[in-house]
């Protein structure tokens, strides 16, 4: 059952990512990005990262995607043409990207991966919080300062100069 669900989520994620990349209407791309991000959150659940799945839904879908939709609506006519390069350029890019993907796939198949079988942890939030308060305290504080400076910087940048 969960195996079936995994392959269904894989097909959904990759398919909607294809729509994000290829659709000519930017608004539909953004809506397909919602499905892709939900699919990635589902993979987090499969990877036993329930807290991260929640964070993904809150911050990506609730925050970043709303920002992107605002960006589309503020700067674009919804049905604008010409958001991609010509078919010729897309062909060249497709060849390059397929090359990179096949190198990555070859690497994934050839490497003898370490596989440590573990029990599923009963809870993840406490462990993450403990790591953030001990080993990763400095990056945690730096990230908060970075968020503050980005807030100020974004407000400064998007103001009309007078």
């Amino acid at each position: 059952m969960s195996e079936l669900l995994f392959w269904f989520m894989t097909a959904m994620t990759i398919g909607s990512a294809l729509i994000v990349v290829l659709h000519s209407n930017l608004f539909y791309s953004a809506l397909a990005l919602v499905v892709t991000l939900f699919g990635v959150a589902a993979f987090y659940v499969f990877l036993w990262a329930d807290f991260l799945a929640g964070v993904q839904v809150f911050i990506y879908i609730g925050g970043i995607l709303i920002l992107i939709l605002f960006g589309i609506m503020l700067t674009n006519k919804i049905s604008s043409v010409n958001i991609s390069h010509s078919k010729f350029h897309q062909g060249i890019a497709a060849v390059i990207v397929m090359g990179i993907f096949s190198i990555l796939g070859w690497m994934i198949l050839k490497t003898p991966w370490l596989h440590i079988v573990q029990q599923e942890p009963s809870q993840t939030v406490g462990r993450i919080g403990r790591l953030l308060m001990t080993e990763y305290l400095l990056p945690f504080e730096v990230a908060s300062v970075l968020l503050l400076s980005a807030l100020i910087g974004a407000a400064m940048l998007s103001r009309k100069a007078n």
């Binding site: 969960s2 195996e3 894989t10 994620t13 990512a17 994000v20 990349v21 930017l26 791309s29 953004a30 990005l33 892709t36 991000l37 990635v40 993979f43 987090y44 990877l47 036993w48 990262a49 807290f51 991260l52 964070v55 993904q56 911050i59 990506y60 970043i64 920002l67 992107i68 700067t75 010409n82 958001i83 991609s84 350029h89 897309q90 890019a93 497709a94 390059i96 990207v97 990179i100 993907f101 796939g105 994934i108 991966w113 370490l114 596989h115 440590i116 573990q118 993840t124 462990r127 993450i128 790591l131 953030l132 990763y136 970075l146 968020l147 980005a150 807030l151 974004a154 407000a155 940048l157």
Partner: protein
């Protein structure tokens, strides 16, 4: 679903698609969406290695920091895009080439 390789393949596919969007899209918001796909693929990799490498939670913290970076990057990038639109009346990344002239 209990294979590391499956997740790595999914992440590689998401990375390739995001790279394709960054290369081919001309609209700045669409380029930003490609960057989000790339960051998500990196996160899937972090969590996959965290689970199959002994479940030691360092990957979780890294993924958390990547999500924070993505939020910061999206906010600043959209401020830049709105500025671009005010100055050029379009957000075509090819037209913003004033520094080249």
């Amino acid at each position: 679903m209990d294979q590391l390789q499956n997740y790595l393949f999914i992440a590689a596919a998401l990375f390739s698609l995001g790279l394709f969007a960054v290369i081919t899209r001309r609209n700045a918001v669409a380029v930003l969406m490609g960057v989000e796909l790339i960051l998500n693929s990196a996160n899937v990799n972090f969590l996959a290695f965290s689970r199959f490498g002994g479940m030691n939670f360092n990957g979780h913290v890294f993924a958390l920091f990547v999500i924070i970076m993505a939020a910061v990057e999206a906010a600043v990038a959209l401020a830049i895009i709105i500025n671009l639109y005010n100055n050029y009346q379009s957000i075509n990344v090819d037209e913003a080439s004033q520094l080249k002239r």
